[in-house]
Amino acid sequence: MPAPKIATVPHFGFITPEKLVRVAPSAAVWGAAAGAAVLLLGSDIPIIKRDILSKVPFVGSYWAVAAPAQDEE
């Protein structure tokens, strides 16, 4: 009786496609959390205000007011 053949899935360290699929929903929520953190912490940075936040529909005018004052200097 031949020895059973052991098949290995492709992996990088302990990371395999199955594990990636399993953690995908949680990782997506972590990504959203990271995005919200960048917006919160970056909401005082002029270039983020001007290029990202002032272009948000409906509430973008909140950041648009501060941007021209920076440019007038």
Partner: protein, 59 residues
């Protein structure tokens, strides 16, 4: 207890959801608080601020 249980199960149970909720609500609260307090200040000081009387002095 039902409201507390709903709060726990939807927002606190998973750490990723909890952290996302904290950052998103902090961002939203910052905007809402700033907008509201500015509006209250402007209405309490109506007619006293430079932006209200500017057109009397600037040609």
């Amino acid at each position: 207890m039902s409201l507390a249980n709903t709060f726990y199960n939807t927002l606190v149970k998973k750490n990723s959801v909890f952290v996302a909720t904290i950052f998103a609500s902090a961002f939203a609260f910052e905007v809402a608080f700033d907008t509201t307090s500015t509006r209250v200040w402007d209405s309490l000081n109506k007619g006293k601020q430079w932006k209200d009387i500017k057109d009397k002095y600037v040609q």
